[in-house]
């Protein structure tokens, strides 16, 4: 396009079916804007984003020699790229396009004010036209994508995603904050609805990922910083000291046998003990122990050193220091998973942590597990006796305005599975499931529920207990109103199992802060679109897998991990990304070299340079500029401008909206 060529604008008003057209008078809007100077054609059409809709634009560009296009439809965050591509297919620079949002910002929020909404829509389109008139062609640069991915979180989501990427031939660095990968799934005894053994299906994957030639495992490691952008992220990891030399350790476990000191086991959720030098759990990957300095007598008092003495390979290294690891990756997957809601603190009425025999569902998993603290025997934590009457309470914290508004999506079926655990281990036990609604949406879940319902000693009570209390003899009891029978039932269970709600794992909060990716009101990662882009985040090149995005069961987690991995593979197979064109640009003739812009730039993209004639001017490094426009807003002479959002363009919109 020639600079001073006559501006010829085509304007297209979308009906979006009835989404826009039922509120905004689209015919009137098209007619009104057709009178605006430089508008050559103005049309309305049922679905502008459809193929025929896009073809109208492409045809008109040719027929009417259009050199600017305005589409009034949904949010540019939705379809701007669609129309930019159409404009490009029509032979124009894709940035000679402007969008007016008359759906999310107009018809959907002013449903009952048709006249006012139509007027507002016309104004918005006119403002877009005012900006379009001043648009200039912009360029995108190609940047190579480093063919290496970072996966944060070594649970089932992170493992599955890492394997998929590695199997596609790309390098993966898998980071896990705990000493072993495996995550919460490693704690489960069986998985619903098939009741297959959790370890049996998980551990082969753990081993596979650790042995994969394309995967580097970083266990007991935290992410401390991430810079850069899609294609080129610079990552800083901090590997915590295990005090065991990984290159020498064979995982024989002699050190653990010889260690005389114990501490509550994190993996067993405090139900069991571990040594001061310990494996996270027996099938840990990597099978390398860790010394916990807080409980190690050598670190506390300077004596003992039993592990060092007995280690056959001399792998103990008390002088190990935290190690910084720097990586360059092209894409990142967040798979940080979930933690249980802190019921002890938030819901004291349930007596969790106050009464020993009130446990969480995850703790029951450990009691049932053959490798757990009780070697697979379900016993009461208080006295080690078999419980004959067990109450399982669903929705503890979940679907509760005062706590977590959302459904945890696995508590119901987990609770049903836990009832099955009890009756299959203790056939004469009675189980009471206190529920609000039973939600069995997954494949095979309803059938599983039906099967468990047929047990005579598993009873369902529709209601939640008000408060769990303790009698003078130490036994627990609570009242619950059963809405099905309209009666208050008093239960005296030997053991209470709470199916607690879940929250994002605390590491997510840290990582989200580092990455600046959007977080939803519930604290989980906010996906780019809840239906169409569920694995993408607000940060390009950062994808989501599993419960980091919201509560998920294992099948959904694995499915999303595969989806996130394929997004990463797609990015890497293509090999490049195109940069944003909305970077800053300096008009050297106007620049006085005052330097106001330089310290404002958060990316250190501006430097002051001396030109040949000795004049000092600001210079923008396009590679570093992220296109925020902060410098342009501060420039006193108007020399700094943001391409695609320059002063003239924005002021033209302001004037159109206010006159």
């Amino acid at each position: 396009m020639v600079e001073d060529e006559e501006v010829r604008i085509g304007v297209y008003i979308c009906h979006c079916g009835l989404n826009i057209a039922s509120v905004v008078d689209v015919k009137k809007a098209a007619e009104e804007v057709s009178k605006v100077p430089n508008v050559v054609v103005a049309k309305d059409y049922q679905f502008m984003c459809s193929q025929p809709g896009q073809n109208i634009i492409i045809e008109d560009i040719k027929q009417h020699r259009l050199n600017r296009v305005v589409v009034a439809a949904c949010s540019p965050r939705m379809h701007e790229p669609t129309f930019q591509k159409a404009v490009e297919r029509g032979g124009l620079n894709p940035y000679l396009f402007e969008m007016a949002n008359i759906r999310e910002h107009c018809s959907w929020v002013h449903e009952k004010e048709k006249v006012a909404a139509t007027e507002k829509a016309i104004k918005l389109v006119k403002a877009a036209i005012a900006k379009a008139r001043l648009l200039k062609p912009l360029k995108r640069e190609k940047v190579n994508v480093i063919p290496r991915a970072l996966v944060i979180g070594g649970g089932i989501a992170g493992i599955r995603a890492s394997l998929d990427i590695a199997n596609a031939g790309f390098e993966v660095h898998l980071v896990e904050t705990r000493p072993s990968i495996g995550g919460n799934m490693a704690r489960l005894d069986k998985t619903f609805p098939t009741l297959d053994c959790s370890q049996c299906i998980l551990t082969p994957l753990m081993v596979e990922v650790s042995r994969h030639p394309n995967v580097t495992l970083h266990t007991y490691t935290d992410v401390v910083n991430i810079d850069g952008s899609v294609g080129n992220f610079k990552v800083k990891l901090l590997k915590k000291p295990r005090y065991v030399d990984e290159s020498k350790c064979t995982g024989c476990g002699t050190c653990i046998t010889k260690c005389p000191w114990t501490a509550p086991s994190e993996f067993e959720l405090g139900l069991g003990k571990r040594k001061a030098i310990y494996f996270e759990f027996p099938q840990a990957v990597p099978l390398i122990p860790v010394i916990d300095p807080e409980h190690c007598m050598y670190f506390q008092k300077g004596t003992c050193r039993a592990c060092e003495k007995f280690c056959p390979t001399k792998a103990i290294d008390f002088n190990q220091k935290p190690e910084e690891i720097e990586l360059e990756v092209g894409a990142i997957i967040l798979a940080t998973g979930y933690s249980l809601y802190d019921v002890a603190k938030a819901m004291p009425e349930y007596g969790y942590r106050k009464y020993k025999d009130v446990i969480t569902g995850l703790e029951l998993e450990r009691l049932v597990s053959a490798t757990g603290p009780t070697k697979g025997h379900i016993v009461r934590p208080s006295d080690g006796k078999e419980p004959k009457k067990v109450a399982i309470i669903l929705c503890v914290g979940s679907r509760d305005e005062k706590h977590l508004r959302f459904c945890c999506r696995f508590g119901c079926v987990a609770g049903i599975k836990h009832a099955y655990y009890i009756v299959s281990h203790i056939p004469d036990a009675e189980v009471y499931i206190c529920y609000r609604d039973i939600r069995t949406f997954g494949k095979g879940y309803e059938e599983f529920y039906e099967r468990i319902r047929n047990y005579e000693n598993i009873k369902f009570i529709r209601g939640s207990p008000m408060e769990i209390l303790q009698d003078a003899d130490g036994s627990l009891y609570f009242d619950v109103f059963d809405a099905n029978t309209n009666r208050i039932v008093t239960l005296r269970p030997d053991l209470v199992v709470l199916e607690t709600g879940i929250v994002p794992h605390p590491t997510f909060k840290e990582v989200a802060k580092i990455l600046k990716c959007a977080v939803g009101p519930d604290g989980f990662a906010l996906e780019l679109h809840p239906k169409l882009r569920p694995t993408e985040t607000s940060v390009d090149g950062v994808f989501l897998a599993g419960a980091v995005q919201g509560p998920k069961d294992i099948p959904d987690t694995v499915a999303q991990a595969g989806a996130a991995a394929s997004s990463v593979i797609a990015l890497m197979s293509k090999g490049y990304v195109e940069t944003i064109p909305y970077v800053s640009s300096i008009n050297e003739d106007l620049c006085s070299g005052c330097g106001i812009c330089q310290p404002l730039c958060a990316y250190d993209a501006i430097s002051l340079v001396k030109k040949e004639d000795g004049k000092q001017v600001a210079k923008v490094d396009i590679g570093k500029c992220k296109g925020c426009g902060v410098c342009a807003a501060a420039c006193p002479s108007g020399a700094a401008q943001q391409l695609g959002f320059n002063d003239e363009q924005i002021l033209a919109m302001v004037r159109t909206l206010t006159r």
């Binding site: 949010s75 540019p76 965050r77 939705m78 949002n101 759906r103 999310e104 910002h105 107009c106 959907w108 929020v109 002013h110 449903e111 009952k112 004010e113 006012a116 909404a117 007027e119 507002k120 104004k123 918005l124 403002a127 802060k513 600046k516 959007a518 977080v519 939803g520 009101p521 906010l526 607000s538 909305y582 404002l600 958060a602 990316y603 992220k626 296109g627 925020c628 426009g629 902060v630 342009a632 807003a633 501060a634 943001q642 959002f645 002063d647 924005i650 002021l651 919109m653 302001v654 004037r655 909206l657 206010t658 006159r659």
Partner: protein, 146 residues
């Protein structure tokens, strides 16, 4: 209060948090007054105070500037710069004879559609109480005299 006064309010929104939050209000069909019209910029830090003055000079009855919550800026710290600029601008507005209540800065995240709708309702009410912005008319008069 002027009868039948429909304030004209210009909203500046950053692309990442606030504009997305307003989109969410739309997708959730949360209704709010039609008086607000949005101009999208990539970052609230792009908003040159001149744009706000230009809006008032042209007759805007109110200007709402929105950005990511402190600490959440997509561009690290653009919103902090906005906050400083708005505080300074508020002081200047009074000197120009524009009530500082006509300008408001709000943090709206991508998940705060409902919050935005509430701000919109509240702000429109506030401007209704203030009445029309007379500065534009007076400016035009002055221009005519010159």
């Amino acid at each position: 209060m002027v009868e039948n006064f429909e304030p004209n309010i210009v909203v500046f929104a950053c692309n990442w948090c606030s504009y997305a939050g307003m989109d969410l209000a739309g997708t959730s069909r949360i209704q709010y007054p039609h008086n607000l019209k949005v101009i999208r910029v990539m970052c609230s830090g792009r908003i040159n105070p001149v744009y706000i003055l230009e809006a008032f000079a042209n007759g805007a009855d109110g200007v709402l500037v929105t950005g990511c919550h402190p600490g959440d800026c997509h561009y690290i710290s653009g919103n902090y710069k906005t906050r400083k600029r708005i505080i300074l601008l508020e002081r200047l507005l009074e000197q120009f004879g524009i009530e500082k209540e006509r300008l408001r800065l709000e943090w709206v995240s991508a998940s705060e559609g409902e919050k935005f709708a509430n701000i919109a309702k509240e702000f429109v009410e506030q401007i209704r109480k203030l009445g029309p912005n007379h500065i534009a008319k007076e400016l035009r008069k002055e221009v005519a005299v010159v």
